[in-house]
Subunit: 190 residues, 6 copies
């Protein structure tokens, strides 16, 4: 089979963990260049999306520093119009001819646009790690073994655990930005 | 009673079905011209909003092709500010002096703006059809009898059933656009 | 302790009630000037956010008319990017050196930006009043004793009770703006 | 040559005039169905864009009332990202396989997306009429002969001439929305 | 003549100067309550809009501190849709029954919405002061005599003159935010 | 002098040329890590901004492929609120303690936020190259000597010269996206 010139891998990376890392290292052997798109880039400081796009980009870049193949690590904000999503990604990334995804909507949208999609080689149910790791962080558990060492260091430098634990406390009187996992905008009590 | 010069009918039309069709044919006898506003126009490719605005506009136009009275079929995107909603609709449509709606918020907003609202003559609980039809589509049931023949043809041409069935599968590793019915933006697992 | 030059108090004020009023009168003794930020300013006509920003600003201004210290009452719209929230507020308000809040995310965001935050002196669990008052309004209960007299007058003038009771009724056929408390955009049934 | 199933014609229609009318009537003989996209739909009340999208849609629908072939008249708002423009139009319209345009950027964008474009059969330099007609309207000249009778009637009903003449007067003290032709947002003097 | 219950005065206030001050003091004698809307609220750090909305609100509030009548000083962001402008203002302000303006487009928009507009009693060509004062600031001239003393103090405290003089220097290599007076977004050289 | 941990370099890179390349290679000797921010990321297909963000990111990554030090190449969209610009960049990038810029507004905004800014070591008036190169491209001149070989290859692969020459032709009848250099939205003739 001919190698893809350039492939796209899409994730939220909250945080970048060993599941992502294993999959990406496997994919890089199959493609010439890899675009790693950091999705939901506009969100941060919530239980579901604790880290900023910049922090996530730094995690990925550091963890993959030794990888020789060319990679692009780029923030992609969510948009509400699914019918624009493929064009939205394409204008922000170099051209690609293959997408790695297990998300059925992503698969559908790229297939309607005529772009090939490959299922991800899941390793040890890595897709469940994100929620588990954030829960461990919030509850003071041992999250460190699930992420690459470089990610550990970054999360400690930015006070990531304190951030998660602080925003988890329930809101009281004030209004304002929301830490609710289900809605980024409106978790205020009053 | 004097005929309305021009009336507004607001719906999501996911898809346009026989319930809509019966109501609209009844209304057109009462008004000179009818504006059919296709609401939530920015959404598509979700379980709750599978079809694009353009696809819905085509369904309505085709199904009502034989209707002689003047009609306008127009996309209207949702906005988050309810207090702007009436002005938002009015700038995109010809002037109207009557609104058909059973939605209590729509009624309230237009009444606060001084525009008359009439309750819709519901036919056979047609307002429940939308959810039922989409469920039938997803589960491989007999949805065809609930929509006009022209709508059947369009849904088959665009691969609408495959789209619904594909986006219904649960998301796995990737991030990106959401097929979740409750939130158009954030159904990713990780 | 040195008095703050100017402090920020953030709330949704749906509606402005005696709990807010007691806290704000207490705070004004501790600061030279007070900025009262009316959050979630873009929302109105929902069960959770029935009043417009303009209506809420009028409530606060009238209720505090006798207060001598300088105060600013300003609308602040929610934004989806938490990482921009502090800068978003600062560009719309005079400079401040203290924030009053019990919202853990607000505390976190301002602390990450290096701005001092003080817990609010809660009076009689005032932070629970908002929901309770809106419930009383919707169900025809005695809400009047929970708000300052000036707020009573305004709510009656604008037909606020009728608005809440009307938008509470369940939606039927039409699409359009949403009165759902959990989502401002998408409560339509079909 | 095989007839196009459905073609797109894009214009601002400020106002819809005899130049548009002649071209569209000619095109409808060449295609089965025609989509008339009313561009720059968000603008109105400026010297360059005096009429709302709703008013322009009414002009076109009335002027072409006698035309038998199926047509869709739809508002399309400008977006700032050219690289999204084709996808933006496609989600709001029925599928099309041909675009009529003389705009070199429009041609380029659709060609990059793999969609055929045909040059418009210009009739009597009709493309210059828009500016000329608006100038005549502003200066009290004889604009009526350049537009279909139905458009005349609509412009008179909505007070279009008074609107143009009033917004043409130079701004003085206040700020606010702009009537400047070159910038829709910022024509205030102070 | 019956006094207006509540009137609206709209300006950019870049900065608030003696021309504004004289007009507003005159108006307050004619109305019960005055809403002062700080337009173009999203802009700052440009030659035409040097001050943030928060800074302008502080200027007005301080300068009018001695004024007894109730006033509301509120930020209003520009929007690109003129047809929404009146509704946009009304949702952010208490209800008003009179607008003071000399801006012909503002007059037109409010008149189309059925709201009375009064021409401003211009004092000594005050409407020309804004540009002149900003030019004096940029060139090191004597701007202080054109603004109330409270405004002088604020501009000095925030380093307003240094800001204007620094952003006036021509851009060189980099891209980024724009200081161009005619366009807030795109003044970069390369 | 201590090395910066991480520095930011901001440009539009339309296209990435030898002037940028020389400056960036010089800067990388002074810092540990460099963030290259591709500004005005939302624009493309205009005379002033011909290339998409993705195309520009590919140019920079390829041209600097041999550079050993860690670099981040990230798209940054312009926003209209200058007072949010620094926070907007910071949420999308890893933390930095130094900015390289000659743009006086950029300098001002970062200095108001307490971040150090260094003037760029201009090489051979490189800041003028962007306009000159785009003019050469449009007119069929010898632009190739002004950009790194990798950029040449990319521009040829994407048909960049044809794009520029095609969008340069004057618009005629249609409305739609704009190729005007001064305004990205509104260059249509009618």
């Amino acid at each position: 089979m001919k190698k893809s010139t350039r492939a796209l891998f899409l994730g939220r990376f909250q945080p970048y963990h060993n599941g992502h890392d294993a999959v990406i290292r496997k994919i890089t052997a199959e493609v010439n260049e890899l675009i790693i798109a950091v999705g939901s880039a506009q969100y941060s400081h919530t239980l579901r999306d604790p880290f900023t796009a910049g922090e996530r980009i730094m995690m990925i870049t550091r963890a993959l520093a030794g990888l020789k193949s060319t990679k692009y690590v780029l923030p992609i904000e969510d948009i509400e119009q699914n019918a624009l999503y493929v064009a939205h990604i394409r204008r922000l990334t170099p051209a690609f001819d293959l997408v790695y995804s297990n998300n059925s909507l992503v698969i559908r949208l790229f297939e309607e646009a005529g772009i090939a999609v490959k299922q991800l080689p899941l390793i040890d149910r890595g897709h469940l790690w994100g929620t588990k790791i954030r829960d461990l962080m919030t509850q003071g558990g041992l999250w460190q073994t699930y992420v690459p060492p470089a990610v550990c260091t970054i999360i400690e430098e930015i006070g990531g655990i304190e951030r998660l634990q602080q925003i988890q406390q329930s809101d009281l009187l004030s209004t304002g930005p929301s830490s609710s996992a289900s809605s980024p905008r409106r978790g205020e009590s009053d």
